[in-house]
């Protein structure tokens, strides 16, 4: 199981051969504050790396969710829609956003690993 991170504070974790799970990091949920709404992409839609795939909103602000890699959305977290606070309470677990079928593994490999992301956070 490998987890990678983006400079936009998303995590992506390869679950199996067919799909990787995407969510926001602890840092991202902390910076946003209480999440009250998420807008998730349609299942079956294909995105290029860096495209806006969703939105996460707190009382105070809205932030775009960028696609960490190119690929097709194969599943979304319906539970998160009903319970957006999961993005705060369990951002790395039950607060996941969607699953994506990666079309180019090179894009995944190029993302930051855990220590790389921690180093980025130290510069903020």
């Amino acid at each position: 199981m490998t987890t990678k991170f983006t400079t936009d504070h998303e995590w992506i974790n390869i679950e199996d051969h067919d799909a990787a799970v995407v969510g926001i990091t602890l840092h991202a949920q902390d910076a946003l504050g209480d999440v009250v709404f998420v807008d998730l992409p349609a299942v079956g839609r294909t995105f290029a790396k860096g495209e806006i795939a969703g939105v996460v909103e707190s009382v105070k602000a809205a932030a775009d969710i960028y696609m960490p890699v190119s690929g097709e959305v194969v599943e979304i977290n319906e539970k998160l829609r009903d319970e957006p606070a999961l993005a705060n309470t369990d951002p790395l677990g039950t607060g996941w956003f969607f699953k994506v079928k990666i079309s180019n593994m090179v894009e995944f490999d190029e993302l930051m690993d855990g220590p790389g992301y921690d180093a980025l956070l130290k510069t903020l």
Binding site: G33, D34, V36, F37, D39, V55, E57, S58, V59, K60, A62
Partner: protein
């Protein structure tokens, strides 16, 4: 982005905010707590259910002294100041020549003068405005270094009465000098949350001690500007620079209740303030647009700047404030709409990320006000 690199000012409670773990943000030139570790939702609920302590020391406090002060101030606001009884407080508006708004403010008639509270972002301009226009008619005393604390919520009265027995006899929009926890304060029973509560003006040197005394009460927790914004929006109260400004008149802003009869056309002291011709005419025949409340039929927050359209996609107006309201648990917003669309229950659409979200025009406040009127 503006290139304002001046260092942020600190309120007298700055050290306390840091000690309480606040997240500080720049606001109107000050470092202010946007939230504490509890978070905006919990802080919002704290104010609706118990008592919330806000630091609003960034706001500008002034005293206008002299026999002519009330008559002088009436030349700048469309409000009855002369007949304001002693220890009564009133909402007012500084108007410009076009009938737009330079600021909104609170005026309280104290024994020692007219106590005026203005918005932080406007206070320097307001002071200049006062000096330019009425500086020769009254003495303008700035008290910008004083602290201002707001204690808001249904339990606020119990908390403050423990520190200042007798203060509970104040009613909404009245004030008086009180010792609170042994410190000399001027207190009004008013606020910006829709709840019962108090605003407490205190010397900077006493502010930290007073805040700690209030926070020591079991009902009271610190609440930041983030929740203050969602609370005031639910209460239907305008935020200057967002919901009202130099291009909105009191009639367009649905603030005609703030203009007493005596200052309206036909009244004993009609007009006589900047923009009186424009505002007087609008009072008689109405304006073309009106500030309304909107409630979303879907959950997505509809934020400031969102375009509102009719069912055919024609632009009607723009949202001036909006969020997912924690108490009503719906998307709520304020917007200016043409008057033929500013009808309660009328359906309009918010353009959010390429979607048209249905919203209904709603009466404000979105949550019932719970002021203590005695």
């Amino acid at each position: 982005m503006s290139a304002d690199t001046r260092p942020l000012l600190h309120t007298p409670l700055h050290a306390l905010h840091l000690e309480l773990g606040a997240r500080m943000v720049p606001f109107a030139g000050y470092a202010m707590p946007v939230q504490y570790p509890a978070g905006i939702l919990a802080e919002h609920r704290q104010c609706r259910h118990e008592a919330a302590l806000f630091d609003v020391s960034h706001m500008g406090q002034l005293l206008l002294k002299g026999a002519d002060a009330a008559a002088a101030l009436e030349t700048l606001v469309p409000v009855d100041v002369i007949d304001l009884p002693l220890n009564k407080q009133r909402y007012a508006l500084f108007t410009n020549a076009q009938g737009g708004l330079l600021d909104d403010l609170m005026i309280t008639h104290r024994e020692d003068g007219l106590f005026v509270i203005v918005n932080a972002a406007c206070k320097d301009a307001d002071l200049q405005h006062l000096r330019d226009h009425i500086g020769r008619r009254c003495e303008i005393v700035t008290m910008f270094d004083r602290a201002l604390l707001a204690l808001q919520g249904p339990m606020a009265v119990h908390a403050i009465a423990r520190l200042s027995p007798g203060i509970e006899t104040l009613t909404f929009m009245t004030g008086g000098f009180f010792d609170v926890a042994g410190m000399a304060c001027y207190v009004t029973r008013s606020g910006y949350t829709g709840e019962d509560g108090f605003e407490i003006s205190v010397a900077a040197a006493d502010a930290d001690k007073l805040a700690r005394a209030l926070l020591a009460q079991p009902e009271v927790k610190p609440v930041g500007l983030g929740a203050r914004d969602s609370l005031r929006l639910e209460a239907g109260l305008c935020l200057y620079g967002h919901d009202i400004g130099t291009t909105t008149t009191p009639v367009e802003a649905a603030l005609t209740w703030a203009i007493q009869k005596v200052r309206r056309p036909g009244g004993a002291r009609e007009g006589g303030y900047p923009g009186a011709d424009v505002i007087g005419k609008q009072l008689a025949v109405g304006a073309l647009t009106k500030r309304v409340g909107l409630v979303g039929l879907e959950r997505a927050p509809v934020r400031e700047g969102t375009v509102i359209v009719d069912r055919d996609g024609h632009k009607l107006g723009v949202v001036t404030s909006g969020t997912l309201a924690p108490t009503v648990n719906q998307a709520v917003a304020m917007a200016y709409l043409p008057v033929d669309h500013a009808i309660v229950a009328h359906e309009v659409y918010a353009e959010v990320r390429g979607k048209r979200l249905p919203m209904r025009v709603a009466t404000m406040p979105f949550t019932p006000n719970r002021y203590y009127r005695g």
